[in-house]
């Protein structure tokens, strides 16, 4: 592999995104916590986080994240997706200022990436609220008042529980049963029983099982690994007969790592596709020649690190975090 990723341009891209997103990004206004997480993960994978963000800036960011933690008991607790909800004190109608599982997961990861020890996290509020978000079928809704439910939120619940090292918010048996039903005829996994096998939902299902230590619940592990491996035709695509998209370098790439299939991948071909997706201005786009965005940039870079692990900090496939950050966090927890 002679040509490599333009690390400097991508670090600069993440820095710009952390500083400001264009007005077209307004549809992401309630998901800024996730975008921020992805930018930090991108920087961490490039080994550039502490060089790009000064200690002062990192501390300020930590404070901003904690400002998104819902303070009152009674309202749905956890972290909200951004500050568009307004000051906490102004709100007497609780649903107007609500946390959600995805933002809580992203907030915890972001805090760890910024070097915080999670001491200001209201763990009991988060886990207490989480219990109420799990449906009888075992899946999760992201916040109260919605009927939206799928493996993304099972994954967020499992990731939060793993990071906080407390599973009192998750009925693991019910979640595992639901995930097992998401197994499809072709070996893939999906959003709900009978839906099309999909790389993103495959990731959420497998990562959840891994975090819960329930990988044995996969109905046919070898067939699932094969489905994942066969999403490679050059780069990875997310569904049968679709074109490669750089984000699947992570969704599928991480599943392959978790199922022990790293040695079966043509990593050169995956890496080559990822490099094709680099944008001149920095960042990566879903397809070659397309516009970059933080999600594709971040997941493409983490996916790239799976292809050439000797060149990058080791990334956890189950949690979008460097292994070193996780280890430091676990060490603090056992003290």
């Amino acid at each position: 592999m002679v040509v490599d990723l333009d690390l400097t341009a991508h670090a600069r891209y993440f820095k710009f995104c952390l500083n400001m997103l264009p007005s077209e990004a307004v549809s992401q206004d309630a998901s800024r916590m996730t975008i921020a997480h992805l930018c930090l993960v991108g920087l961490a994978t490039l080994g550039q986080l502490n060089d790009t963000l000064s200690e002062t800036r990192r501390a300020q960011m930590v404070d901003w994240i904690y400002e998104q933690q819902i303070p009152r008991a009674g309202a749905y607790a956890g972290f909200r997706g951004g500050s568009l909800f307004g000051p906490h004190s102004s709100c007497s109608y609780a649903p107007a200022n609500s946390a959600n599982l995805a933002a809580t997961y992203s907030a915890l990861c972001s805090l760890l990436l910024l070097g915080d020890d999670l001491s200001r996290v209201d763990k009991h509020a988060i886990l207490g609220a989480m219990r109420q978000l799990q449906l009888e079928s075992g899946t999760f809704v992201p916040h109260p008042g919605t009927n939206e439910h799928d493996p993304r939120f099972i994954y967020c619940a499992c990731a939060i529980s793993s990071i906080l090292n407390d599973w009192s918010g998750v009925d693991k048996d019910a979640a595992t049963r639901y995930i097992a039903e998401c197994s499809n005829y072709d070996g893939g996994m999906t959003q709900a029983r009978f839906q099309e096998s999909h790389g993103g939902h495959l990731y959420c299902c497998v990562a959840s099982l891994s975090l819960m230590k329930k990988m044995d619940a996969l109905p046919d592990r070898q067939r699932t690994l094969k489905w994942a491996l066969f999403r490679q035709g050059g780069g990875y695509h997310g569904r049968t007969n679709k074109v490669p998209d750089v984000c699947y370098s992570f969704w599928i790439g991480a599943v392959v790592e978790m199922l022990g299939g790293h040695d079966f991948v043509d990593t050169g071909a995956v890496a080559y596709f990822i490099r094709q997706c680099e944008a001149d201005i920095g960042g990566l786009a879903k397809w070659p020649g397309y516009r970059p965005d933080p999600l594709h940039a971040s997941l493409g870079i983490v996916g790239y690190s799976f292809c050439c692990p000797e060149k990058f900090p080791r990334m956890s496939p189950e949690l979008l975090l460097p292994e070193s950050v996780l280890e430091a966090h676990r060490a603090r927890q056992t003290q």
């Binding site: 649903p95 009927n147 049968t240």
Partner: protein, 344 residues
């Protein structure tokens, strides 16, 4: 802002200048110095959000609040708490559900992949026609009912626009399951497969329609149904042998619901196709044919241990061929598969 000709349309006038909103003080968003990924809001969005925060903060129930939520959702359909608020407003104001569905239809075209829009749709449809009432009439009557007919038409258009829109197909599964529209679904699936034989969403939908909500772990396919599916698949393999979808469909279907028919019925049919002059070259070149043989032999060896040695030898040769010629990108996987043949 919508500007027609040289005049601004009424709605584009700033809220601060509208009499209706004089009693409200907008609530500003708070950002600290450590603000992460702030968005360069347009002035219009910033103002809308200031007023929305003010009415949501006290949970105001009013028509003006309802129309404000519409304007914000049209800019940002991902604002998850606005949906919770809107649902409450629609209920408490006893809004016309059909009109609400009209509005959802309009913005769905702009945001075909937004999760909340599709879920909002589900709750509106079940309110317009409760499934328990719908199931009292025949399927023919159900599909001609204006509510369901409109949903099916909407789905036709969405899938026409993007034949693999995951949200559209999953909403379609919800609609078909909830209102038991199984007969028409098999017809629809067949149309879609014939439109594009490589559309995996359509093949997946065939599996969905075949099982009709039965629990997969207890379904056994009747032999005549399985044979008919095998014929259907073979006819579509002929159109494009190097196409993952029909191969995955038939091997998956039989493995789950009629495993012995993998080797009693599917195997002779595909071997016959591979021997046919018209298809021989294409079949030899496609990894899916050889991979299907491996799956079939694996099942056969499990059911007939006396044949195992011969099947393992044949499978071994197939793995070599796949690794060295037919599917080189996955050669490491095929080499691994070869080593694990004996342990199956």
């Amino acid at each position: 802002m919508r500007i027609e000709g040289s005049e601004q349309v009424e709605e584009a006038v700033s809220l601060a200048q509208q009499a209706e909103w004089q009693d409200i003080t907008p609530i500003e968003q708070e950002e600290g110095e450590g603000s992460m990924c702030p968005i360069a809001y347009t002035d219009e969005y910033r103002e809308l959000m200031g007023y929305l925060r003010a009415v949501m903060a006290v949970g105001e129930v009013s028509e003006r609040a309802l129309s404000l939520t519409a304007r914000v959702i049209e800019e940002n359909p991902g604002h998850y708490t606005v949906w919770v608020y809107r649902k409450r407003l629609v209920e408490e104001l006893e809004s016309d559900i059909a009109e609400e569905l009209d509005w959802v239809c309009d913005i769905s075209r702009k945001f075909p992949k937004n999760y909340q829009l599709w879920h909002h749709r589900e709750s509106l449809v079940t309110r317009l026609w409760a499934p328990s009432s719908a199931l009292l009439v025949s399927e023919d009557q159900r599909i001609t009912n204006p509510v369901l007919r409109r949903e099916l038409q909407f789905l036709d258009a969405a899938i026409d626009e993007d034949s693999k829109n995951f949200h559209a197909w999953s909403y379609r599964q919800w609609l078909v399951s909830t209102y038991a529209l199984w007969t028409q679904e098999l017809v629809f699936v067949d149309t879609m497969v014939n439109q594009d034989v490589r559309n995996n969403s359509a093949w997946n939908q065939r599996y969905f329609a075949m099982l009709a909500n039965r629990n997969p772990s207890v379904v056994r396919l009747e032999p005549d149904v399985a044979k008919s599916e095998i014929e259907y698949v073979v006819e579509h393999i002929k159109l494009a042998p190097n196409n993952d979808s029909p191969w995955s469909y038939v091997t998956g279907l039989l493995l789950r619901h009629a495993p012995s028919m993998l080797y009693t019925d599917l195997l002779p049919r595909i071997k016959q196709l591979a021997a046919d002059n018209a298809y021989q070259a294409a079949m030899t070149l496609t990894p899916f044919y050889w991979s299907a043989l491996l799956d079939i032999y694996e099942q056969q060896a499990a059911d007939h241990p006396d044949l195992k040695k011969q099947l393992v030898d044949e499978s071994s040769a197939i793995c070599d061929q796949l690794a060295s010629e037919t599917d080189i990108i996955h050669c490491r996987y095929w080499n691994f598969r070869k080593t694990s043949l004996d342990t199956c």
